[in-house]
Amino acid sequence: MIPTPKVDWLALAPTLALLGASGTALLGSVLVPWWMRRVFTAFVAFAGFITAGVFAAVVFDESADGRSLIAESFTRDRLGALAALIVAGAGALTVLVSWGENRRDHVGEYYALLAAAGAGMVFFVTASNLMTLFLGLEWFSIALYVLCAMDTHREESLESGLKYLIVGAFGSAVLLFGSALVYGATGEIGFSEIAAAGAGDDVLLLAGLAMLIAGLGFKASAAPFHMWTPDVYQGAPTSVTAFMSAATKVAALVLTLRLLVVGFPDQEHLWTVAIAVIAIVSLAVGNLAALVQRDVKRLLAYSSVSHAGFMLIAVAANNELGGRALLYYLIPYGAMSIGSFAVVAARERELQAPVTLENLGGLGWERPFLGAAMWVFMLGFMGMPLTGGLIGKFYVFSAAYEAGWWWLIVAGVIATAISLYYYLGIVRALYVRPAAALEPAVAGGSPPLDPLLHTAVFLSVGVTIGSFFFVQPLIDVARDAAASLPF
């Protein structure tokens, strides 16, 4: 009998559940008769995300002490489990949002790819060496490239997919090159071994580190690596945008935190500054560019760049409070992102046209629920009370203060002040502007209600508001997760 290494199936369960769902959906898109293909594949993807979430919760519960698995290629710890949980939640909400899209062709492939992207992210956040990091990154990226270009009848969607593919591939190449340099300098690929190798201020290592940060910056859409974000977010199918803005950000930021804290403690004095600078540039670019946008998806894309900046402040703080802040922030942020893109999707389906600030006019009165929800999400992005956005910013600023970086607080405050203008611009469009002369919906009459999308929006509102009132349980979870990193 051939000896095999012991495999920790539980740690792999979230990934496997999503992979299974992806495969089943793919088979379903061939074997299941066309008229129930959509129901079947959507249900399988949804079930996959839910199962992955449940497994992630179990892993979280049972991994008080983190440990490395399978030749130390990935880690089973609470940080990865929490990130997987958030990704799974985002994925499940995305399935709900996607349902009403009325995709005619490739519907099975769509859900299969969504589950595959989710599986890649769930795997990626647990990576603990440079190979699995790259593997996970490419895994979910390739799925996302295709998802972006899924609406083959729309030119913007193809453009979005192509643009993401080219820029994303470039980002991955930079990351890979960086990994090679780090390996060259230390002879190691495991994060903790790189730290243990103690290469100090070796030029090769530092160049590699810089390239790794840049490569991850592409995925987190932090400025100046954000150029693809507005175009891709605008062109991709809105439900895919929703998924990317929430889940990709979770994956990229959590892994950035893990890589830097575990792998490069000796270079701390360098990368904290680098991350802080990237954070400030993201805040500046995201907020200033968002001011002049008329297309709501583009506006939200720039807003996501600025939020990457906020979350990178927490990473730059490089303390336990910062880890807590990041993990807390991701929860309401994910909900607000998905929720706001879901509202945009609803409007888009109604109008059969891109949503701009003009044709958002009057939505608040026409659709009281969606309008109020969008209002809540905007308040959350602004960091106003009654939403977790306030607490998130509060924690981020606290982490920056504890690290002694008061100027990051100042930058965050200024950025928030600027962001008010465009977030309130959306609220103004919803409630204050009169409904513009709208093109009547193609179908005529009022469009059908989409209960699944409404459920997703409702759940997002619930998380956004609930995370304000129930901070203690969430922060306990975030603290447990952050404790698995050696700050």
């Binding site: 106003m384 009370p385 009654l386 607490i391 509060f394 607080i409 008010l420 204050v432 901070v471």
Partner: protein
């Protein structure tokens, strides 16, 4: 008890938003909830012992790792400010019922939400709770002005929100620094700080809210473009959030910087007082006069607060309540005049006293009280403030007294321009007098002013804060 005072209007707001009731019923429901809130406040007063400090506390840990808890309670002075809030907001809702207007459910819900948020501000004993309520006030105000406001409402809301939020974000930074350096965000448990920057962050936030010169850029647009009842709440009550913040946070937590900057703050407040009084004298309509007079009065109140003695601070509280009532009445009267004539500009009004005795009486009474004739509650407040500031320097008191003369000038100008000068084009012969329902709205406020005029000591003897932070207070129930 305190929590109930906050929750009741918020819950009522939710009910109003969610229940699909017809217009009339919504108004009645909102009014009923507001009256219940007044009753609840009266019960709170009944159970309050003015000889002691913080009372009626509710405390619940919110998140413990940074030491933040939901902690609310009343001091004597905050009880009066909360009383002002519930009364003025109730009257505002009554006015909104009278004025009708579209989208009643949203409107009344927002007014109730605003009421709950303001009461929350006046009771907050934790910095983050304070910040949450302080910002929560802004959410309904933005929509109330933006949707139901006058023709230039977009500009008004944008300026208002950008000014106030810039101030409050500075405050958020200050809160983070203060709270983390104290290891707690509780206002009761934390000690004092001498950090100038943190102090300035708080000061600017409240200076914008009050507003103190030179942070008043948002004032006139916001007060002129709001619906009258919202303007009444804004100038009468929301500006008092600054009073609470200055007293509870700035003066209580930063004794050293306060002493250091005392002269500068008083100087700015005095400049604002004189400047706004002069502007009020030149302003072209009832609303602008009231708006600028509001700014002038806030200057006076800040002078009282920063005299840093019992006389001045008690005077500031008396004056806060008096001014809250006065400016609420004036804005509502302006709204009633506008509803009749379509304008509140002086050139188009005038001669309205003849044939409209009730309007004349109401405006006259309020105006006379506002210009602080001896025997009125405003006189009591201003006298205390001047007495307090006299202890700091007689020069300030002299300038303050001069400003009171200016107040008489602009108030008399307002009265005569509306009531007595030759009739303008919009003040028609048959423009009706104040009707019974409107009278029912205004009389409680005027009566309250008269009662307080007769007995200002009801507030001034009970208002002094007795803040004893960092020491043991009675255990929260």
């Amino acid at each position: 008890m305190t929590t109930a005072l906050i929750i009741l209007p918020l819950a009522a707001a939710l009910v109003v938003w969610l229940l699909p009731l017809p217009g009339r019923a919504v108004g009645s429901l909102a009014l009923l909830a507001a009256l219940a809130e007044v009753a609840l406040w009266a019960v709170a007063v009944g159970g309050f012992d003015f000889e002691r400090g913080l009372q009626l506390q509710d405390r619940q840990s919110w998140f413990s790792d940074l030491g933040v808890s939901y902690h609310v309670g009343f001091y004597g002075f905050s009880l009066f400010l909360a009383g002002l809030t519930v009364v003025v907001c109730t009257i505002a809702i009554a006015y909104a019922v009278w004025a009708g207007g579209d989208r009643g459910r949203a409107y009344h819900g927002l007014l109730l939400f605003l009421m709950g948020a303001i009461v929350g501000v006046f009771t907050a004993q934790d910095l983050l709770v304070f910040y949450a309520f302080f910002e929560a006030m802004l959410i309904p105000i933005y929509v109330l002005i933006g949707v139901w406001g006058g023709p230039r409402r977009l500009r008004a809301t944008a300026t208002f929100v950008i000014y106030t939020m810039a101030g409050s974000l500075l405050m958020l930074a200050s809160i983070v620094v203060f709270g983390l350096s104290q290891d707690t965000f509780s206002l009761v448990d934390s000690g004092v700080s001498s950090n100038d920057w943190v102090f300035l962050g708080f000061l600017v936030a409240f200076a914008v809210k009050a507003p103190i010169f030179p942070f008043h850029g948002w004032l006139v647009d916001a007060y002129r473009e709001s619906p009258p009842e919202v303007a009444a709440i804004l100038s009468g009550v929301v500006s008092k959030a600054a009073v609470y913040g200055l007293l509870r946070i700035v003066i209580a937590k930063f004794p050293e910087p306060v002493e250091q900057y005392q002269a500068a703050i008083i100087a700015f407040a005095t400049v604002g007082l004189i400047y706004a009084s002069v502007l009020a004298f030149r302003a072209p309509d009832i609303r602008s006069v009231t708006a600028y007079s509001s700014m002038a009065q806030m200057g006076l109140i800040v002078i009282g607060l920063f005299s840093l003695n019992e006389l001045g601070i008690s005077g500031a509280i008396v004056q806060s309540v008096a001014h809250g009532l006065v400016s609420a009445i004036l804005f509502l009267l302006a709204g009633m005049v506008e509803a009749r004539t379509g304008t509140s500009a002086f050139v188009a009004l005038g001669g309205m006293a003849r044939g409209r005795p009730v309007l004349a009486t109401l405006l006259m009474t309020t105006g006379i009280i506002a210009l602080a004739v001896p025997g009125s509650v405003a006189f009591a407040g201003e006298f205390l403030i001047l007495a307090g500031i006299y202890g700091v320097g007689w020069g300030w008191a002299a300038v303050g007294a001069a400003a009171i003369v200016l107040a008489a000038m602009y108030m008399l100008r307002l009265i005569s321009a509306v009531l007595h000068t030759p009739r303008g084009i919009d003040a028609l012969e048959d423009t009706p007098d104040v009707r019974r329902y409107e009278l029912a709205i205004l009389v409680p406020l005027v009566a309250l002013l008269l009662v307080l005029s007769a007995w200002p000591a009801s507030i001034s003897e009970r208002a002094f804060p007795l803040i004893a932070d960092g020491q043991e207070t009675e255990a929260a129930p």
